[in-house]
């Protein structure tokens, strides 16, 4: 084999383990759930191979599924907006801080490493009937009986924001870091106020970071099922809970496949729109 041929083959040898893994463990299985979603669940509990539209018919027309899908998208949207409103100023502060920038950033990264389940359940200690807030309210004499603040949609959103906020701050921070501060100074020297300079110069330039953070927050919150289980009430199921129910509890795998593909289609469409306008490069910056 010539040196040139070997040179050409080498990257493929290096890539093949990772590509094989992703192919076999992600792409082939994804194709497979497409097939499985057309199988039929029979009364005996066995799945019948074939091409049946029953699952899709159920998943797409049953108002129960539609309502939960819409509810999930609404929760994801509110979570994303809340993350943006809370995260943007914080990211701006870190990016423009004159000292301790590394420390501020590190502090922000710490919650990333604290277990998701721990961070989620920590709100029970705060908002529970015998939690910190009720204890405070009782001792201050503001209420006579503890208030039930948990197990509703706002708490689910609160838990999601707590989980996802670092993603938003990090993405906006990365974008703001890439903007030359002197641009704002230039705008000011040309007669605009600080606020105008921010609105006209910095904010538009940081929008890609905001969009990347928003996409991550939206996709991650729309795919969650742990938070509603821990912090939500019986009626606060999100779409992923339906998938979990169908697959793990009811063992109705064909229906679970169809529901998973619905979720994938909705979120995939969003990722494609994002990719079309902004490209994946911005997202990679904020992840790495």
């Amino acid at each position: 084999m010539s040196v040139e041929a070997r040179e050409r083959r080498q990257p493929w040898i290096l890539l093949s383990p990772a590509l094989t893994a992703v192919g076999l463990l992600l792409f082939v299985p994804l194709l497979f759930i497409v097939v499985y979603s057309f199988w039929l669940r029979t009364a005996t509990g066995a799945d019948q191979a074939g091409f049946y539209l029953d699952n899709w018919n159920e998943a797409l027309t049953d108002p129960f599924y539609r309502d939960i899908l819409l509810g999930t998208l609404r929760i994801a949207a509110i979570t994303t907006i809340a993350c943006a409103v809370m995260g943007y100023p914080a990211a701006y502060f870190i990016a423009r801080a004159r000292s301790n920038k590394v420390l501020l950033l590190l502090l922000l990264m710490l919650p990333f490493w604290i277990s998701y389940i721990i961070r989620t359940m920590s709100w029970i200690n705060i908002l529970g009937v015998s939690g910190a807030v009720n204890w405070l309210l009782l001792n201050l004499g503001i209420v006579d009986e503890p208030i039930q603040m948990l197990y509703n949609e706002p708490t689910v959103i609160l838990g999601l924001v707590h989980f996802l906020l670092p993603f938003m701050v990090l993405n906006v921070y990365v974008a703001l870091e890439g903007i030359d501060i002197s641009l704002e100074d230039a705008a000011c020297s040309l007669g605009s106020t600080r606020w105008q300079a921010f609105r006209e110069v910095t904010l538009p330039l940081s929008l890609p970071g905001l969009a990347a953070g928003g996409l991550l927050c939206f996709v991650l919150s729309a795919g969650t099922y742990i938070t509603p289980l821990v912090l939500g009430g019986p009626t606060d199921a999100m779409f992923a809970n339906l998938v979990f129910e169908a697959i793990i509890t009811q063992l109705n795998w064909p229906l679970g496949s169809a529901l998973s593909l619905m979720l994938l289609a909705v979120l995939g469409a969003l990722v494609l729109v994002y990719n079309h306008y902004l490209g994946m490069a911005q997202l990679m910056k904020g992840l790495g």
């Binding site: 893994a21 389940i117 721990i118 200690n125 910190a132 204890w135 979990f244 795998w253």
Partner: protein, 261 residues
């Protein structure tokens, strides 16, 4: 004026992030029976109970073995792939990058269902191996992102010099590139370990009956009520998952400084 407002706002955001976690740590030292306020005294009793809880110890063992194997496998795959993507002219590099990053973009629930059903179709039962494969696939993108970012910054000249002095490509990799890349490899492994250690979404789908990792164990315990023991477990987890990466970061920085890079 405006800047002070942002400062206070940011302080509130940090408080929001840290207060609930601080309360977990605080309550884990509560002497009371109940994992709640008011605190009745300072005590280590829940940590002692924790150390004697067989189920939790088993879960820790599972999580650590799983995390370590995940880290080793996904870092190996990730380093090889990053080398190819950074060091060689690969046709369709962007497409390949996107394919390798795809596991982050697919909602984890969907990834979990797909892998579970596929292996079921192949008549492979749920097993520790399946759980491991699942963890490898969604930690791989993070390793690739971290290693690639570092590799771009390491000049190719060093390897070429080694090659021109008669080293084989494998020798050049192990004696030149890998030591220079060590901080990123280390960071990638830690990243993979932490993500695997923390995962619950995929794990609930993939774990065989009777096997629990620490997060699924906590999740199962939460079904009853929040006990001081869960808070103690949470505190241990916080120190493990925050302490380990901080330690790793310090080591990686030291290594990078010693190697002058």
């Amino acid at each position: 004026m405006g800047w002070n407002l942002i400062r206070i706002y940011t302080l509130l955001v940090y408080l929001f992030m840290f207060l609930p976690v601080a309360v977990v740590v605080l309550l884990s030292f509560n002497a009371s029976q109940f994992g709640s306020f008011p605190m009745t005294g300072f005590s280590f009793r829940w940590f002692v109970e924790l150390a004697q809880n067989e189920a939790i110890l088993r879960a820790f063992q599972t999580s650590i073995v799983l995390g370590a194997l995940t880290a080793v496998i996904s870092t190996t795959l990730g380093v090889l792939a990053s080398l190819a993507l950074v060091r060689y002219e690969v046709p369709g590099r962007n497409l390949i990058s996107t394919l390798l990053i795809a596991p982050i973009l697919v909602p984890e629930v969907v990834l979990a269902v797909a892998l579970l059903l596929f292996l079921n179709f192949l008549a492979i039962n749920k097993s520790f191996f399946l759980l491991l494969m699942g963890h490898v696939i969604f930690t791989l993108p993070f390793v690739i992102l971290v290693v690639q970012a570092r590799l771009v910054g390491i000049r190719k000249d060093y390897e070429e010099a080694a090659l021109s002095l008669g080293a084989s490509p494998v020798q050049a990799f192990f004696q030149i590139t890998l030591p220079l890349l060590a901080p990123a490899v280390f960071a990638g492994m830690l990243f993979a370990f932490t993500i695997s250690f923390d995962d619950i979404t995929g794990t609930l789908f993939w774990k065989p009956g009777g096997v629990e990792t620490v997060p699924t164990q906590i999740f199962a315990m939460l079904r009853n009520s929040i006990s001081p023991e869960i808070n103690a477990l949470g505190t241990v987890m916080i120190f493990l998952t925050v302490g380990l990466p901080l330690l790793g970061l310090a080591i990686a920085r030291r290594m990078a400084m010693q190697r002058g890079g």
